[in-house]
Amino acid sequence: MSDKPDKRELAINVPVLARVEGEGALDLTIAGGRIREAKLRIYEPPRLFEKLLEGREYHEVPDIVARICGICPVAYQMSAVHALESIFEVTITPWIRRMRRVMYCGEWLESHSLHVHLLALPDFLGFDSAIAMAEKYPDEVRRGLRLQGLGNALLRLLGARSVHPVGVCVGGFHHAPRVDEVNRLRGELQAALPDAVALLRWCATLPLPQAPRPYTAVTLRHPDEYPMNEGRLVSNRGLDIAIADYEQHFAEFQVPHSTALHNHLHGQPYLVGPLARLNLNLERLHPATRCILEECGITFPTWNMFHAIVARAAEIHHALLEAIALLEHYALPHAPFVPVAPLAGIGYGCTEAPRGILWHRYETDARGVIRSARIVPPTSQNQAQIEDDLVTCLEELGLDMPEDAMRLRAEQVIRNYDPCISCATHFLKLNLRRE
């Protein structure tokens, strides 16, 4: 380890990078004081969902696509029902639209709280797991698990269970929750607001690495709401397109080291997810959340990727406030769904999954049977950006640093994106070669 970096020839094999969702590995080759190669190698076996959707009936789609990801099934269900409803020329009721946003708030709460507490925080506080972290930070970990639990409770309210919920259908919901159930849960959400405020303030004080650099952020934008289910696709570099035009600007391509396809926007890597959303939709964030962010002293938009954990905490607070507002004066609808009559056609759906935009395209026949499907998950869109970021962050750290420090920083970079490798892979191996 005392050799000069340009002379060292080392192969580090860290068998497993923990606390990510899915199976992958990281291959790093350092030569002549430079990173020659940084590959996020995703080898989680493909499950070929796009093919197994072919020939299935439209009403089966929400339950099929949910199985792509146990952590963000609602995102898959939402993108799918929006795409199919656009083909069938269905107009949903305001009640359905509100409840879909409530359900999405539940998924953001659940997924972000899980990522912040169980996956990301141990990195910054020097622990291997949240269970170990709970001995020193019992109140903080319990607070996080409570917020995660509330997200799951919102999902159960409309979906009966939080993983692969059963409430969503093309046209709306199978079931409307009772008024007393809604009011009880709304009270719990209100009671949890101080928890969300404290979490956001705490995340803003974490000893995060400073690594600001330019990047392209892509998100949905809605005229007056923080983006979830609807909007146009925009970037900080002038992109502003309808979701149906996605394929004309974004290219998906295969690389030998990954079973998840990579994506480029106009030939360049780009970022999707909470940091991209927050940077480009600040004015649509709940005023109370914005106010806390301003007090915290972090200026958004921010070009430090590691502020993603702060963005997640901000979205937890926002999602709580939004769910509370949406559930105020809740009343039972005449029907929780609108009738659907299938039509032949092509439709697009794009919604903001916890990890970023999730784009679907379906073609149906006149009976509503799926002729073809295309699904672009957020993690495959972030892969090229992750590899870019690894190079920059490790070079900034210094390639002559001890292996342990380099490995930790590489893992932090990858986890910071909250990659869902099941969507796109479950354990990451670091194979570091120094030549």
């Binding site: 068998p15 497993v16 923990a18 606390r19 990510v20 969702e21 899915g22 080898y43 989680e44 076996p45 493909p46 499950r47 070929l48 969902f49 796009e50 093919k51 197994l52 299935r56 009936e57 089966e60 339950d63 199985r67 792509i68 990801c69 146990g70 952590i71 099934p73 659940e110 169980l118 996956l119 141990p122 291997d128 797991s129 269970i131 709970a134 970990v141 319990r142 698990l145 409570r146 995660q148 639990g149 799951n152 009966a160 269970r161 939080s162 993983v163 692969h164 059963v166 409430g167 259908c169 199978h174 079931h175 391509f253 295969q254 030998p256 079973t259 869902c420 099941s422 479950h426 354990f427």
Partner: protein, 259 residues
């Protein structure tokens, strides 16, 4: 209970949703951590795939040559192996490719199929190694996991819930969606354990918990035909989340052969 149970959680081809039965426990996760040592559970942090374990929970189906080797290592490092969820127990929804030409499917999704390592078929864990207990469900619930852990801590076999969803509907006093609304409900052939969530929401069960004991799949297929379903629509109900479970696989095949 002289010492903590050594628990490993392994993932194969899956959506990650069954492991969430642990991670979604909330504060109870910290209580479980008092009773069990997680020796290998990558998503939660601990990584030591070959560490000796009293019980290994396995999520996901076997679908690559590397998986075939890895599941042998899991079996060799644990005393009891419990599958969690449809993927590990019956192959899961991705086993639908067993009914199709998998190579052609890979070529349909990937521009360079030669980079993709995959077996021709997707198989449940029990096809490869001895399984001591199966927890069905897509996904399994936290209740199922904790009940299994408790049973193991007491040194008894976990309760194998094989009754039909119909029984659960009766216990919960849910009005039958098939009798009252003519919905094609899979409850009469499906294992309970979910709490009859779908009928409670007024929708037909779609059999995510797999076949119950002695399922009369012929009679139900006949009933579905009486409700106006086409043969392919009936076959789809069996060839779904647990399409690889023999009772459902055979039922789907029979409906398709008879049309």
């Amino acid at each position: 209970m002289s010492r903590k149970l050594r628990v490993a959680v392994h993932k194969f081809s899956s959506c990650d949703g069954c492991q969430l039965a642990f991670l979604n426990l909330g504060a109870a996760l910290l209580e479980v951590a008092q009773l069990a040592d997680f020796v290998h559970f990558p998503e939660a942090g601990p990584v030591d795939a070959d560490a000796p374990a009293d019980v290994a929970f396995v999520e996901g189906s076997i679908s690559t040559p590397a998986d075939v080797e890895r599941i042998q290592r899991v079996r060799n490092s644990c005393k009891q192996l419990i599958t969690i969820g449809a993927c590990a127990t019956s192959g899961g929804i991705q086993a639908l490719r067993n009914l199709a030409d998998a190579r052609q499917w890979v070529a349909g999704v990937y521009a360079s199929p030669e980079y993709i390592s995959a077996l021709a078929g997707v198989s449940p864990v029990a096809r490869h190694v001895k399984v001591d207990f199966e927890l069905w469900g897509c996904p399994v619930s936290s209740h199922q996991i904790v009940a299994a852990l408790r049973a193991l801590l007491f040194g008894v076999t976990p309760l194998d819930e094989q009754a039909k969803v119909c029984m659960e509907c009766k216990r919960r006093q849910i009005v039958c969606v098939m009798v009252a609304q003519g919905k094609p409900c899979m409850g009469p052939v499906t294992r309970t354990g979910c709490g009859a969530l779908c009928p409670a929401f007024g929708r037909a069960c779609y059999a995510c918990y797999g076949p119950a004991e002695n399922p009369n799949t012929d009679a139900l297929a006949h009933r579905f035909a009486g409700l106006g379903l086409l043969p392919e629509e009936i076959a789809h109900r069996y060839a779904f989340i647990n399409n690889g479970a023999p009772a459902f696989r055979d039922a789907a095949r029979k409906v398709r052969d008879e049309r």
